[in-house]
Symmetry: D2
Subunit: 371 residues, 4 copies
Amino acid sequence: MSKNTFGNALKITLFGESHGDMIGAVVDGLTPGVTVDAAVIDHQLSLRRPQGGISTSRREKDAWQIVSGVFEGKTTGTPLCLLIPNADTHSRDYMPGIARPGHADYTAQCKYHGYQDYRGGGHFSGRITAALVAVGGILLPALQQRGIEIGTHIACCAGIDDVPLDAAYMGEETVLREQLRALNTQGFPVLDAAAGERMRAAIETARAEGDSVGGVLESAIVGLPAGLGEPWFDSLESQLAHALFSIPAVKGVSFGEGFAISALRGREANDAFRMQGERVVTETNHNGGINGGISNGMPVTFRCAVKPTPSIYIEQPTVDYYNQKEETVVGKGRHDPCIVHRARVVVDSMSAIVVADALLQRYGNDALRAE
Amino acid sequence: MSKNTFGNALKITLFGESHGDMIGAVVDGLTPGVTVDAAVIDHQLSLRRPQGGISTSRREKDAWQIVSGVFEGKTTGTPLCLLIPNADTHSRDYMPGIARPGHADYTAQCKYHGYQDYRGGGHFSGRITAALVAVGGILLPALQQRGIEIGTHIACCAGIDDVPLDAAYMGEETVLREQLRALNTQGFPVLDAAAGERMRAAIETARAEGDSVGGVLESAIVGLPAGLGEPWFDSLESQLAHALFSIPAVKGVSFGEGFAISALRGREANDAFRMQGERVVTETNHNGGINGGISNGMPVTFRCAVKPTPSIYIEQPTVDYYNQKEETVVGKGRHDPCIVHRARVVVDSMSAIVVADALLQRYGNDALRAE
Amino acid sequence: MSKNTFGNALKITLFGESHGDMIGAVVDGLTPGVTVDAAVIDHQLSLRRPQGGISTSRREKDAWQIVSGVFEGKTTGTPLCLLIPNADTHSRDYMPGIARPGHADYTAQCKYHGYQDYRGGGHFSGRITAALVAVGGILLPALQQRGIEIGTHIACCAGIDDVPLDAAYMGEETVLREQLRALNTQGFPVLDAAAGERMRAAIETARAEGDSVGGVLESAIVGLPAGLGEPWFDSLESQLAHALFSIPAVKGVSFGEGFAISALRGREANDAFRMQGERVVTETNHNGGINGGISNGMPVTFRCAVKPTPSIYIEQPTVDYYNQKEETVVGKGRHDPCIVHRARVVVDSMSAIVVADALLQRYGNDALRAE
Amino acid sequence: MSKNTFGNALKITLFGESHGDMIGAVVDGLTPGVTVDAAVIDHQLSLRRPQGGISTSRREKDAWQIVSGVFEGKTTGTPLCLLIPNADTHSRDYMPGIARPGHADYTAQCKYHGYQDYRGGGHFSGRITAALVAVGGILLPALQQRGIEIGTHIACCAGIDDVPLDAAYMGEETVLREQLRALNTQGFPVLDAAAGERMRAAIETARAEGDSVGGVLESAIVGLPAGLGEPWFDSLESQLAHALFSIPAVKGVSFGEGFAISALRGREANDAFRMQGERVVTETNHNGGINGGISNGMPVTFRCAVKPTPSIYIEQPTVDYYNQKEETVVGKGRHDPCIVHRARVVVDSMSAIVVADALLQRYGNDALRAE
């Protein structure tokens, strides 16, 4: 694992630039015989697609194509390459040399010495996540067949809170599964519809001001077997955080109670074990389903802090790094005033990748096939 | 990279159990010619050692020994193996089969099927971090010679706040370097001594009640060149978080403003660029020195949430997983009522490992040698 | 590194099936600013293309396309994805369930449980090497700009010997570079044209009999700096052999004198060092430019044994693994009576990948850019 | 995998120098519950130990110690660290700056810039293989419990041939298993005792002349399930060759008929499939049990060419690379006139590592436990 490839038994390699010919991903190590359902991939991509009023006006139809690794509708077990052509690009909106604050323009220059494709953020663009989402559309149903469900809601957006995913912290699996399934049908996933309306309104306000907002995503993985992860370095938290922090705009990741756990006493933070029939469960789930870096069979819960989109239509001071002089910049092009709701399905795809990899490491190459 | 080995160009492999013969680490990929200074290693280990009143009474002298990879006081460039014998162990305090809440006993059972060394937490014990800290004692001076300094303070403990590391967020490098150096001499590192006293008192109170407390560590890396990290998967945030989340008790990691950034507007969160002589800098540092996953030359800042130590002397309900029945457990043995101050030097060692690896990837095998 | 991804600092991921939509490769870790010359890629692909009389009649125009990682004719440093559509496929010639002797049909069944794309050998097909060859067309000129040249001749085919690449073993660099350049223009690369004619005639004889022949390729890498490779596991020989043994039909790899060195005495096998101006060189080069797994600055030389193509038009006993019964099979479809000459450019591409990776590990991310 | 760490699901890290304090290995990814039998480890080390008359007079008792990863006689599943102290060292026999021909002295200087431990070959010494052999002593019995047996004989030494391991090429498994077991009891493993006597005499003659000899080892792995290995890059041949070429003095590796297969016709080289009861087998085994990079269930066979030991007591021209001038050198210290017989058990250990890794990748983390 390193650079643009992630995973151990399952490996994902990403490629593409925002305004290049195509973006895509190669997935290696997949169990042979996994069903590839175009409708699910399309649905996942639809959850990532811009939404009128609260999103960019760039419209990509995401006409994905799998060119290898699938035969007669099922994975072969050899590398699967998925391609998505870029169609709706406006490259003239981008000026090389001007570092947009909060963006990767300047750091790309430092790393790539001016050879980077600067158009639309190039390889740093959120556009690349479309390939990840399509991969999620293959992995998520395979996990679901093994009883593992994944979902995310907008816990907070523009300072407005959704109700928390309490079932995950109380180990109410049946309720939790229903909540996750409901969220997976929503383009703007919230548990409390009224809170969602207020969030949308706040996004539109920010947009009207040329500004942007951020938020917090809260996720749960239910049905994970106990015993996944490693004591050191490859703890399940390490692997999930590694994947999640590569999503553009994520600046914080926490598990279970997260930062709030640091203010508890030990007797409050510990999750007491008890028997539920023949199964060992915990009374509470402050530790987010992970003890010592390894899954304990309870729902794995985590939160991602998403910063406000850096692309804004307000003049900001910056530098022209070609000419080493100060400049100002004001956003051009088409941008999202908020990406929190769109990032949700990227988070779920990353979770699916990490979980699938952990299963394949633990149970071997055929671990993803339905019994 | 995977399992108990971490890193790309620099690889660290950890081994050992709390009550086994020895713990240790192998470090591979080190630049040849790096000075190994026993006094620095001893100092770093002293920062991790238990402190009277607020720590466990286990006393390990940490008589480390390097058995390979160092010749005439300098690294050879071949794998360095560092060993630390365990001396002060009380194994009879541990009962197999009883899952201590908040600990890895049960998850270890799920992963290792009863073959794990259960004594003192075995391979999951914080004891193993002594080897990481000793490795930090080799890497940190080598980084310092290249102008890179790393340090951490207790931003919050038992709900009591230290003053923030403001210099890091305002890019005042000279002030920040002085603060980090001062912190690196303190066994209980705070910027505000009075806050530190209140924290210590709170730890002693928790101890008296048989309970434990947690906290938040805030770190800075200053002097990092711009251009380290990868756009996807191996973002600098991903690599740091991967390492940090494998430290026992860390349940949250955030960069720059962290979770608070999610409540800002874009125009507040963006860090405007400006020229400082010939150097590009940012006015503010809300993004913690990282844009698009790549260092921008400003101080890298991050926070780790540390949960309260799970070992407490209060009766808790749990299960006996050998006999599949419910039980109660009350802490025996010697435990820390707080590990936040001791974890600090582990965090710095992890940072040093990630930064050294990033430099070696970027500049090649000789990147750690002083000019 | 693992599965279908190879390399450390430079990573190559292969995908595609013989009769699928496209084959291709993703190359990650490339130095930004490397020139991509379509004419060189086309030339390299032409060396791999079937030749009338001694090759298959499948005709692929290899209309490659780079969809990411190249901007304005130079590498960006982000992942480069190269695609080659499959055009001329005759899938009906392949019967699932019948294991062609010497082929991967049966082992694919054991690994992929019947989900593999069996048409034309699927992912095991030599067709996939076209992507490797195209990648070689990017790396080889970059290496040449750093003074590193790579080439291969047919040391033996159908039992007929070419003259050996003596200049490589005597350290005559100027002569060797000329020989390699000349070989790189030949579709059937030999030093002795008359021997080449006899080899071609032997291939045509085998073809007429429905049979096939093999051979030995001898390669040299000249201009490699001393100091590349690792003492254990990642010796330069290990890395080259790893790559070379994944070329279909390669069943042996040896360095320097190869198996013949085992019959020498120590005083014969040792290569005496001497000064050549300020440079340390060896008098002879029995060790093929590698001591202790690390390059010594002399030409790196190696040989690959290529087995006769398993596809023959002669009836052979085999099994039907679907029905668990014995069967006979006779070759259908279009096949090569010899692939030795076509495999040559695959060997050179593999060498280029390993050498480029070693340089990037040793000298860092910008190691492939011309000064 | 890279540098001094090898493997995917099973990872081996080597460390140590010939005249340092200790050598050793860390093994990560082992199935928990594997029995560790000191007598087997001792036996394996005894096969590597120098033999009077035909070996060095350095006498190491190989007092190995396992300091982690084993509890109550069984592997825990966490990293196992095995240490072997160096005892019998004569460091004054080594002069820094003088490059011994055929050795790594000069290449170590190029890579490590003079910081390497030059004494006794340092990290390049065959001494390090003792740790690999001890690891083999853990893995080989675990594989044997799953029906997988591994063994090697001296196919050729000093130009004298043993009889070939015919049973491996004819698929006579019962005979082959008996032969391998017999070989594993011999310090100088040959099938034809008379040939062995002639080889020993030839080694003694070379020794008397201050010279050295090489040879060829032929190995077989029997009982391997079909379906291990990957189509590209991580073919079973690639993985074995990678490991084998990191053994000092190995200059060639071939599978099945090896280089001789290149002179066969396709109809001779192909191994016809047939049914043996319900099992698919091949009539012959020219391909050494591997098709398309993947095991086919037949014995895996391979040969390693071992060069004559470079340490000889004959004056040789060389250079002093400290002073950039020509010199002569004559062997001092205690050296082997032949290491072929000692290298045998290193080859078997490497095979065990590769096979165990392949099983763990294929079948998951518990693959090495006896049913």
